[in-house]
């Protein structure tokens, strides 16, 4: 159980020495140049409320049995809104006792009225934890409430008991989508009495996944209405910028947000740490791995309990080895260092969690597996090996240290990835910024269509029904045209010999994922899956495909069969597809002209895009030099989607650049930087957004050619002289990289000024000389020698794009 509310604070904590604070001071003096930013969050005292009067006495007894005499104020507030029947979302930090916010009303309803509840967790491990915790409270009060998990691991003969006897069923969205809703009649007993739907870790339901989950919830509520129940939603989330909005989108209803935490918090120090530069010209720094190990070793030596977060399972193993080499050399003494990640057996993970809670482990190295609410007791130090990708995720991981009223230290060690370097060089961005917005678009046409199929299978639609914000009648008519639905006497019946939920994955938009098959040594083993949309530029023949940073080479791509055959390789290079993307602007939804004089225009609208993946570059590790090219023979990719684009007034452009070629270089570099910043701002993966430079009329487009300079090509892909087109108004596009869009470009347009300013700052503050993968993209070594600086051109373009067009600073 996470910190029980009202637990007595150990009295002597404050008077004790402050080991985490001391370590922070030591690092600060010794490595001042590596620390680019620092933040101190002061301690916060707990705010309490008595147990509610209307709380069932059995439940109150159970709480007292667990040492809980009073509630935190946010727990009491949640109780009040839920008892008033409002959908409620609770947004408070890690370890603030969120689970009690939903367990109390759920248990009360189960005790008093035999009402039932459905819990949704994004992962199986969390679901298991939750049942264990519920059971602890249940046993403390001898409440007799039955909670079961229902997931892929539930044995067939146990499923019936779960369906018919569970008061609380704990599952995940995928199981709800494929296992429960299509068979809802078997779940009638649960659904008829369903009073609460609990959604924990709500912030994980964003982007494509969140859009699908919102539709699964629409289906669930529809089925509940069929059984005459109208359940109340209780959602919990880590800190994000727009919790009520996300909750409202997910449950499609008004939701009351509780955001003031009453849980006490010890003071927190956060250091942003950049490994020292090894080669300034190439922008190469010492590895994050060695820095992370150094910091964690110092901490353990000084008796601090530490957690290290790494971004891959492999890195977890590597860091664990380094730490064990230092502290667990003697096999006779119990281990002080442990690894924790997905892929371990559940029993092994439970043992590890227990050891962590007991404090017998000094350092645990983990993937994001420990980021979500698994209880691991109190820790002093959290080291992040690399930026987790989002501000919210970073805080969530940092929250793992200092759970119980004691100074905690967090260190974010940047890797050489562009995003990390941006964050670390702009500490005020990270430290001052509110966390990201979590965006979903439940009415994305393809996603919505998938769920309308599933919903029609579950229960025929009637004329006039509403499902989502698109015209349901027209969507159903479309499905009827395709022969899977039949309209008869005012109802739309599913009419196909198939089970639609099976072909809909909650984690993607496109159909027909590719499988990656390892054929090394004559075997045939599936080692990965690649989205349809990212297949063309990741698994072309000759590509180096990375799994856990182990390189595989694609030998053959079976496009029709959706298979890529790969073998293990030891290549010292990676590959980067060269794509020629032609965009044609179809419709402008909105447009904003820059201030007087109108230097630049930014617009948002629908575009038609044709991508040809023409070839690929081989890029050597570390030096990032091109060491060769290969051809790719793949069909063109075609897509209609939404985009944001920037254009510069031709006169201003002429005045700013000596040649069109220079301007092109500037646009390409600026696009690279904008892409980095946009992905970060939009809380999305960088492949969710695409970028392109062209005239917006599919007549010409620009790419970085073999020379490392911008090249202009016509619609056939042939290089043309930049001086050739009569008009020269290049446009820089950032687009939603999914057919139909997934709702990124609209908020991107809203945030246009921040994004341009962020990109400009990224380029301005980069420590490279002429450009590097951290700012405007890799450049050729020859440019370094010549002194040509694509970076300067990019700066110029970005300055023109920023609304006030400030003069260039020499």
């Amino acid at each position: 159980m996470s910190t029980p509310a009202g637990q007595i604070v150990p009295p002597c904590e404050a008077s004790h020495a402050d080991p985490a604070g001391e370590l922070a001071a030591r690092l600060r003096t010794k490595y001042a140049t590596r620390i680019t930013g620092e933040l101190v969050v002061p301690a916060q005292a707990g705010q309490y409320a008595p147990l509610p009067d209307d709380l069932d006495h059995r439940l109150a007894e159970a709480l007292r049995g667990r040492g809980v005499e009073r509630l935190y104020t946010h727990q009491a507030a949640a109780w009040k809104t839920v008892q008033a029947g409002s959908h409620t979302v609770i947004v408070t930090p890690t370890a603030s006792g969120k689970t009690l916010c939903y367990n109390l009303p759920v248990l009360q309803a189960a005790l008093r009225d035999r009402h039932k509840a459905l819990y949704l967790f994004p992962t199986k491990a969390l679901a298991q934890d939750q049942v264990a915790e519920l059971m602890a409270l249940n046993e403390a009060g001898d409440l007799g409430v039955r909670a079961f998990t229902f997931d892929g691991d539930t044995p067939g003969d146990a499923r019936k008991a779960v369906r018919t006897r569970g008061d609380i069923v704990v599952t995940n969205p995928d199981m709800l989508h494929q296992g429960i809703l299509p068979h809802h009649t078997k779940w009638a007993q649960l659904l008829e009495c369903l009073r609460f739907i609990v959604i924990d870790e709500m912030h994980t339901y964003r982007g494509v996944f969140g859009s699908h989950v919102a539709n699964v919830l629409r289906r669930l509520r529809r089925i509940c209405r069929f059984y005459g129940s109208e359940p109340c939603f209780i959602l919990c989330s880590a800190t994000i910028a727009n919790p009520s909005e996300l909750a409202r989108e997910l449950v499609n209803d008004e939701v009351v947000a509780i955001t003031e935490s009453g849980a006490p918090q010890g003071p927190k120090h956060l250091l942003l740490w950049n490994p020292p530069v090894v080669n300034a010209d190439l922008g190469i720094r010492a590895s994050a791995r060695s820095q992370t190990t150094r910091i964690a070793r110092t901490a353990v030596t000084h008796g601090l309990k530490s957690i290290v977060f790494a971004r891959s399972r492999l890195m977890v193993e590597v860091l664990t080895k380094y730490m064990k080499d230092a502290f667990d050399r003697d096999p006779r003494s119990p281990a002080r260092v442990a690894a924790y990640r997905g892929g371990y057996l559940p029993s092994e993970r439970r043992t590890m969690e227990k050891k962590l809670r007991e404090g017998s482990i000094d350092c645990v190295v983990s993937t994001s597996a420990l980021e979500l609410g698994v209880d691991i007791g109190s820790l002093d130090l959290c080291v992040l090996n690399g930026y987790p990708g989002t501000i919210a995720g970073t805080w969530q991981r940092l929250g793992r240290a200092g759970r119980r009223q004691r100074t905690a230290l967090g260190v974010l060690v940047a890797s050489s990835l562009p995003l990390d370097q941006y964050i670390i060089r702009n500490p005020e961005f990270f430290l001052g910024a509110s966390p990201e917005q979590a965006r979903i678009d439940p009415d994305q046409l393809l996603i919505l269509l998938d769920h309308i199929r599933c919903a029609a299978f579950e229960l025929p639609f009637r004329d006039g029904d509403v499902f989502g914000r698109q015209d349901l009648g027209e969507m159903l008519a479309y499905l009827q045209d395709h022969g899977v639905i039949h309209h008869e006497s005012g109802r739309w019946h599913w009419m196909a010999d198939s089970y639609p939920a099976n072909s809909v994955s909650l984690r993607s938009v496109a159909e027909g994922n590719f499988v990656v098959i390892d054929t090394s040594g004559g075997k045939q083993e599936i080692i990965a899956e690649v989205d349809y949309s990212s297949a063309p530029d990741t698994i072309y023949e000759g590509a180096i495909y990375m799994i856990q940073s182990a390189p595989y080479q694609v030998e053959r791509l079976d496009w029709e069969g959706r298979k890529a055959f790969v073998t293990r390789t030891r290549a010292d290079y990676y590959t980067d597809a060269i794509d020629y993307t032609r965009l044609r602007i179809l419709e402008r939804f909105e447009e904003n002209k820059g201030k007087v004089p109108p230097l630049s225009t930014v617009a948002h609208g629908e575009v038609h895009l044709v991508r040809r993946i023409a070839g690929f570059k081989k890029i050597r590790y570390y030096s990032h030099e091109n060491i060769g090219y290969g051809n790719i023979d793949l069909p063109d990719q075609e897509m209609h989607t939404t985009a944001v684009w920037w254009q510069i007034d031709p006169h201003a452009l002429d005045a700013a650049f000596e040649s069109r070629l220079e301007a092109l270089d500037g646009f390409l570099g600026a696009g690279y930087a904008l892409h980095i910043v946009a992905a970060m701002r939009m809380h999305s993966e960088s492949q969710d957004i695409g970028r392109a430079v062209g005239d917006g009329n599919a007549e010409w487009f620009a790419t970085v050619g073999a020379s490392g300079r911008g090249q202009m090509r016509n619609s056939a892909g042939d290089a043309i002289d930049p001086g050739q087109p009569a008009r020269f108004t290049p446009a820089l596009f950032l687009y939603d990289n999914y057919p139909g869009g997934i709702g990124i470009s609209s908020p991107l347009y809203e945030a246009r000024e921040t994004i341009v300013a962020g990109a400009l700052q990224l380029v301005n503050t980069c420590e490279c000389a002429h450009g590097c993968p951290g700012c405007i993209g890799p450049i050729l070594a020859s440019d370094e020698v010549r002194g040509f600086s694509p970076r300067q051109m990019a700066q110029r373009v970005l300055r023109l794009l920023s609304a006030n067009g400030e003069p260039e600073i020499p």
Binding site: D481, M495, A510, S533, H608, V610, E638, P739
Partner: protein
């Protein structure tokens, strides 16, 4: 642009129609392209030229009648007296008995099979055709209920419920996991009460699997018909094509395939009734039907061990090793040690380790012939358990020798050993 046009365009861009990917990609105007966009993945076939058949015409063609709006009821009987030469009709019984059938003798057997709109189940799959067969002393009657439209489902289910009464017993083929749960789902979707959960139900697939699973290539109904009933269907439309046949009628009024599905379903329930009778015969005369004797004996033994032993003994010369082992096991359980030992000895001679072990246990614990136990033990494969056993027997032999030396046996000791109740296998400390 209409929503429909946008949808079909997006679907094809999301990988829905990869085969057509190379066509029509040239960067022409959007409107022009839309005109060229063919609807993809259309399931509906064009009507096959035949005219659309209204429900009453369909009912007539199927020799049935409209009994409710959109619901066709087809009732047909075969009088047993009309075909006195048919072996299969002659073998038909009203209430055939199978092992473990005690308590079902007064019940009326109803054979049931459904045709559904999909084979994967789920709440969107419905049973558009339900067939029942009833056997009387002089006739076998089939009643089939066919929906000609979605809205007739409520009427179909109500009619089905009316045909069933509390004294009935349902007999199906794979109905436990397929037909019955599906029908129960349909009753729930229509908000109707139903008796299905309370009626006794026998799924013939299970006994068929037991008795013939090892000998037949599979246990599908078709295979059952060929091997047990000696029937080979002519011009049968496989059940897997049922969904398409019904959809074809719903979309285009084309009932040609539907008639074949109705016939297929009728054949299924008739076969079920015959198979039930013939299974009862096969249990009585297993050798004539090629029944797996071992499997039948195991089945019998669940309710009647002596019947199982009788069956095994009557096939003594032809039993497989498993059958022999079962005979040994049953003999031991019923205290017939003599028979058990003779079975084990035969098996042990063929190298059956398990039987050798049984013999060693028997000699050590029951007959107390330690020398014989030691001999059996010697023939067992060397492993930890064997070593343990050998040492234990040796120790016992040693102790016996010492005892005999000190206290020569009195007459009164012997009955103690002989009078020991042969155990339920609990005699042996190492089981």
């Amino acid at each position: 642009m209409s929503l429909k046009a946008r949808l079909s365009r997006l679907q094809s861009q999301a990988g829905g129609g990869c085969r057509d990917r190379n066509k029509g990609i040239a960067g022409t105007g959007l409107r022009t392209r839309l005109a060229h966009l063919r609807p993809e993945r259309i399931h509906a076939q064009a009507p096959s030229g035949g005219h659309a058949m209204p429900p009453d015409e369909l009912a007539h063609a199927l020799r049935g009648e409209i009994c409710d709006e959109g619901l066709v009821h087809i009732r047909r009987s075969i009088r047993l007296a009309e075909q006195p030469d048919s072996l299969i009709l002659r073998s038909l019984q009203c209430n055939p008995g199978l092992p473990g059938d005690a308590g079902t003798s007064g019940l009326r057997c109803i054979y049931i099979d459904t045709e559904t709109t999909g084979l994967s189940g789920g709440s969107g799959t419905l049973a558009f055709l339900v067939g029942l067969a009833f056997v009387d002393d002089d006739a076998i009657t089939t009643r089939q209920l066919l929906m000609t439209r979605f809205s007739a489902e409520a009427a179909l289910l109500a009619a089905l419920a009316r045909l069933l009464s509390p004294g009935d017993r349902l007999i199906s083929y794979n109905g436990k996991s397929y037909d019955l749960p599906l029908l129960m789902t349909r009753f729930r979707m229509q908000g109707q009460e139903h008796p299905l959960g309370t009626l006794p139900h026998l799924d013939l697939l299970h006994p068929v699997r037991r008795l013939f699973g090892k000998h037949w290539k599979n246990c599908r109904l078709i295979t059952l018909e060929e091997n047990l009933l000696g029937i080979r269907r002519v011009d049968d439309l496989p059940g897997a094509e049922a969904p398409a046949a019904w959809f074809r009628y719903i979309r285009h009024g084309d009932g040609s395939q539907l008639a074949r599905i109705v016939e297929h379903n009728r054949q299924d329930i008739l076969s079920l009734a015959f198979a039930h009778s013939l299974l009862a015969r096969a249990v009585e005369r297993p050798r004539d039907f090629g029944v797996d004797i071992h499997a039948l004996a195991r089945w019998l033994a669940e309710t009647d061990e002596s019947a199982a032993i009788g069956l095994l003994r009557s096939h003594a010369g032809r039993l497989c090793d498993e059958g022999m082992r079962l005979l040994g096991q049953l003999s031991r359980r019923t205290g017939n040690w003599k028979q058990a030992v003779s079975v084990w000895e035969t098996l042990a001679a063929n190298g059956c380790v398990n039987s050798l072990e049984c013999l060693a246990k028997y000699h050590e614990h029951v007959s107390r012939d330690l020398a014989a136990a030691r001999r059996c033990c010697e023939r067992l494969p060397r492993n930890a358990a064997q070593g343990h056993r050998r040492r234990r027997i040796d120790a016992k032999m040693e102790a016996m020798k010492n005892r005999l030396r000190k206290h020569p046996p009195a007459e009164s000791c012997l009955p103690l050993i002989a009078g020991r109740i042969p155990g339920q296998g609990t005699l042996d400390p190492d089981t």
